[in-house]
């Protein structure tokens, strides 16, 4: 069974007929070829599939695509504006905050939502903020530093 939904994907209004049993993650990966968000655990433990819906970070593997109807979805692919990377993306590159890279899109989207909510988090708040994202290369130190770097870079 398919259902027609209308939603905003990375700033663009789209209309799409989607299988009702498809998760939001499967839809953005398979139907829109946006493969930044990854399926890690598929159960809300690892955060590799994190995208932002209406300004809030969530696990795209735990949402049916049909539930996106009428909502605003932002994925890692929509973060750069006119080819200019988001400060978080720049910082992750500059600070070498990735090893295998599998968790990186989810990590950055979680950090993006965190900074939108709290532009000046402490290290503890950053740690708590990204606690729903696992990095199995265990490169947390550099990830935290990369987020801190953006915080420190902001005009006070």
């Amino acid at each position: 069974m398919k259902k027609i939904i209308e939603f905003t994907l990375n700033g663009e209004l789209v209309e799409h007929a989607v299988d009702v049993q498809k998760t939001l993650l499967k839809m953005i990966r398979e139907d829109f070829d946006l493969t930044g968000a990854k399926e890690g655990c598929g159960a809300g433990e690892c955060g590799a599939c994190t995208v932002i819906m209406d300004g809030r970070a969530l696990n795209a593997c735990l949402v049916f695509a049909v539930e996106a109807d009428g909502h605003d979805i932002l994925t890692i692919e929509g973060l750069a504006v006119d080819g200019v990377l988001d400060p978080l993306q720049v910082s992750f590159i500059e600070n070498a905050a990735l090893q295998c890279g599998y968790c990186t899109p989810g990590m950055i989207m979680t950090a993006k939502a965190l900074l939108n909510e709290n532009p000046t988090p402490t290290v503890e708040e950053i740690k708590e903020g990204i606690s729903g994202n696992l990095c199995r290369c265990t490169g947390y130190k550099k990830i935290i530093e990369a987020i801190q770097f953006v915080v420190e870079d902001q005009p006070v």
Binding site: G44, E45, N59, C61, F64, V66, E67, D69, T110, G132
Partner: protein, 276 residues
């Protein structure tokens, strides 16, 4: 995952009509953070899904007529971060914010946490201690049931086909002091090994534990004992021993029965000691 009919009604009446039509073959979709995992793993294969998030009245978190009402679709993050809840019911806020990850809590709801009827539902112990009521809508109207009578067994509630929980409410009592404890293997994103809320109103106590019985429970005998005795190190010792006799934990992947029994004593002692 098997296909299903997807419905997103905008009224309770329409939702109940659909629930009755499909009987046992339908699942209510709220936050979905539990349902989708169970469907993915093949534990649940509903023929139809009724998404209740389009029903506006279920999104209310209101403080009215001397009661706090948490609507069916109120998110755990919105409950936990609510200014009034933070101020008057910090233990409920802590419980709400201890469920899963931030991402999960941006979808998962307090009422969903309760309706799943997990023995270790984190928001169950503060709500049990607060003597919360569950409001259930059906085509016969609204009925109100005490939360303690709502749970039947592991993952089983009294809910019948065609019934929807519209919300949970409790008496607005800012003077009640509460302490929430969550014992888990790691600080964030983990299930409770044992969880508890101990509430004190003047010299009356309410004690609720999770993950030590098939459902979240109240420890009435221990409460009665504490209500009749003033708080001393000695009465705390007796209360802890009584509490241990009131629980019936099992051994599972997270902890052994013995460990859970010990933790009940430790958590109750730590909570009561705060008021010595």
């Amino acid at each position: 995952m098997k296909s299903f009919e997807y419905y997103n009604p905008s009224t309770l009446k329409d939702a109940v009509g659909l629930l009755k039509k499909y009987g046992e073959d339908v699942s209510i979709l709220n936050g979905g953070t539990d349902l989708i995992v169970r469907m993915r793993d093949g534990h649940s294969e509903p023929k139809a899904i009724v998404d209740i998030k389009g029903i506006k009245e279920l999104h209310q978190l209101v403080f009215e007529d001397g009661r706090v009402f948490i609507g069916g679709c109120v998110l755990l993050n919105d409950l936990g971060m609510n200014d009034v809840i933070l101020k008057r019911y910090p233990y409920l806020s802590q419980a709400a914010l201890s469920v899963g990850s931030k991402q999960v809590r941006n979808r998962a709801t307090c009422v969903g946490n309760i309706c799943n009827a997990s023995p270790l539902a984190d928001t169950a112990t503060p709500l049990m201690a607060l003597d919360a009521d569950v409001h259930i809508y059906s085509d016969k109207g609204i009925k109100t049931v005490p939360l303690k009578d709502f749970f039947v067994f592991v993952r089983k509630t009294i809910l019948q086909p065609g019934e929807i929980v519209t919300g949970i409410s409790f008496k607005d009592d800012p003077d009640a002091l509460g302490i929430f404890y969550k014992m888990s293997r790691r600080k964030e994103v983990d299930l409770s090994t044992v969880c508890s809320t101990v509430l004190r109103r003047d010299n009356e106590y309410a004690i609720s534990f999770g993950a030590v019985a098939p459902t979240p429970i109240r420890l009435y005998k221990t409460e009665e004992y504490l209500n009749e005795h003033s708080l001393t190190e000695e009465t705390i010792n007796t209360a802890c021993d009584m509490a241990e006799s009131e629980v019936s934990p099992i051994s599972d992947i997270r902890a052994s029965e013995e460990y859970r029994r010990e933790m009940v004593k430790v958590m109750l002692r730590n909570s009561l000691t705060e008021w010595l």
